[in-house]
């Protein structure tokens, strides 16, 4: 059974029929537990909306969404069910500043478990553990404005980890960070997926980040445009460019070379194998 299952889900922000522009159109999607999925799409493609549907920040106009086999779109879902869903599916947003609530780092990480009514000694344990996971233990008593963007985003992640979720959605969590901050956060995300077996949905428009996932889903105008492993998806260079998306630089290079009739594989994603192929060509 898939961890997340969406059946014919549609959604639009304006409910009146005149301005009814669907943001999500009839999406069918299954995500397995423990997978690392990158969701790509240009601005306004509906990728963030898709994420917000999964933890009940938004509710679909039609269609069914199942989390762990539970129908979260059924009419008799209670308030408690909503909180259980939000505990299971954590979400990290774009702006690190606007997610931190407390003036002290460890107080902020405790916010989620405190809301869930976890016992104090257990909260303490979880906070220490979450800080260690993101490698920020020595900043426990600092305040948020003393940290860099990447550090703040790692604190936001720690705040979600402390809730012990099964899945974390990263809604463009790296887009406001500088390259080194982005690197820190990506390593943390990857580690959570590999070591803690947390299902990761990483919404991004940075191709080099999507390459690190097990599966890439490309959303265009509220529909699934491409879906597959990174090498499958990125070999469709022309299609991706037609919907306004880039491909990783190395893939683009391979694509341009193959256009000239030279036989090279297009599904190359990392610099190392690209360099090897170029070396062979030039010998």
């Amino acid at each position: 059974m898939a961890f997340i299952k969406m059946e014919n889900v549609s959604f639009s922000y304006d409910n009146d029929t005149l301005h009814d522009i669907p943001v999500i159109k009839n999406i069918n999607l299954e995500i397995e537990k423990g997978s690392f999925v990158a969701i790509l799409g240009h601005n306004g493609s509906g990728k963030s909306t898709l994420a917000k549907l999964l933890n009940f920040i938004l509710t679909p106009n039609s269609g069914k969404i199942y989390i762990n086999g539970r129908d979260i779109t059924s009419p008799d879902i209670t308030e408690n069910d909503v909180f259980e869903i939000r505990r299971d599916i954590g979400m990290v947003f774009q702006n690190p500043d606007n997610q931190l609530v407390a003036t002290i780092i460890e107080e902020d990480i405790a916010f989620g478990p405190e809301n869930m009514g976890v016992e104090s000694s257990e909260i303490r344990r979880r906070v220490d553990d979450a800080l260690a996971v993101v490698g920020m233990s020595k900043y426990a008593r600092h305040s948020p404005h003393q940290l860099s963007g990447g550090q703040k985003q790692r604190i936001a992640i720690a705040g979600i980890i402390a809730m012990l979720p099964e899945c974390i959605i990263f809604d463009e969590s790296t887009s406001m960070l500088d390259p080194s901050g982005r690197h820190e956060v990506m390593n943390t995300i990857e580690m959570l997926n590999r070591e803690r077996n947390i299902t990761v949905l990483h919404i991004t428009h940075i191709m080099n980040e999507a390459v690190r996932a097990d599966r890439v889903i490309v959303i265009n105008d509220g529909e699934i445009f491409l879906d597959g492993t990174p090498s499958e998806v990125f070999s469709n260079v022309a299609e991706l460019q037609s919907v306004g998306l880039d491909v990783p630089q190395v893939t683009e290079l391979m694509f341009e070379i193959s256009k000239d009739g030279i036989d090279v594989p297009i599904n190359i994603l990392d610099e190392k194998s690209c360099a090897d192929i170029l070396e062979k060509l030039l010998r």
Partner: protein
């Protein structure tokens, strides 16, 4: 320039006053203020001065900082003193110069007012603001006022608002700085011209600041919802405040102080007002 603003007036330290439970300190502040207003004779005031001095001493806050804290109030203190000297009528006339009549009682009353205001300020800041971090203060307030929840006062919501405000002050200051620099880069002038002109120049700063604050509020509330926030009900806390023997002892001591000031008023009514 805006970076220099310090948040609250908290001076970290590990004196006895620093270590007390914030709830205790709020109660102590109330007791302290009560005892100051109970003192109505010279003996009472001398006693208050002595024990304010003792509080300052045990807080280990440098006198310089306390004096600095009093500085903004010099005008008010001087004004009160002058009014008291000139307008208090008494029996012992000291100066009789045309329409200016200064009585001994007036001078004494002015002195007592000065002592009252300065010790009020020094004492409360030493007990509360200088030795308690803002977050501990809101925590203490929330827990102290918790019984009021039963009459449907939004105690938790109030404390949450305080926490968020404290959290976002540095963020918004940084943002103001950024907006100001952006406007300056486009030729805006904030430092010259008449008062109205300078006030008008602030409008292009305030509007983007407000818009961004609303956007932040919206994003923050979504993020809080995602972290299972649903108000104060069923909420637990990581750090549980515990009253220790020292807390009860200090409360008892200050309560005794109130009684002492009353007794001094009755038994040594020198210049009782």
């Amino acid at each position: 320039m805006l970076k220099d603003i310090t948040l609250g007036q908290f001076f970290p330290g590990d004196s006895i006053l620093h270590k007390l439970d914030p709830r205790t300190k709020i109660i102590l502040t109330l007791l302290y203020i009560t005892s100051i207003f109970l003192a109505t004779s010279v003996s009472g005031y001398i006693y208050i001065m002595l024990y304010t001095g003792l509080l300052v001493f045990i807080s280990r806050i440098p006198i310089k900082i306390i004096v600095k804290g009093l500085r903004p109030l010099i005008v008010i203190i001087a004004f009160t003193a002058i009014i008291n000297i000139l307008w208090t009528k008494g029996e012992v006339l000291m100066v009789d110069f045309y329409f200016i009549n200064i009585y001994l009682e007036g001078i004494m009353y002015a002195l007592l007012m000065i002592i009252r205001i300065t010790s009020l300020l020094a004492g409360t800041s030493v007990i509360l603001t200088y030795t308690t971090s803002p977050i501990a203060l809101t925590d203490g307030l929330e827990r102290l006022l918790a019984p009021l929840k039963s009459i449907h006062l939004p105690v938790h919501e109030f404390a949450m608002m305080m926490t968020i405000a404290l959290r976002f002050i540095p963020t918004l200051i940084e943002e103001t700085d950024k907006i100001m620099n952006a406007q300056k880069a486009r030729g805006a002038d904030f430092s010259t011209g008449s008062l109205t002109k300078r006030a008008k120049a602030l409008i292009p700063i305030l509007i983007p600041l407000f818009i961004s604050a609303f956007r932040r509020a919206d994003e923050l509330s979504t993020a809080m919802e995602c972290r299972c926030y649903r108000g104060g009900d069923n909420r637990t806390r990581m750090t549980v405040l515990r009253m220790r023997p020292a807390d009860f002892i200090t409360i008892a001591l200050l309560a005794m102080s109130c009684i002492i000031t009353i007794l001094l008023n009755i038994n040594f009514p020198i210049y009782k007002i």
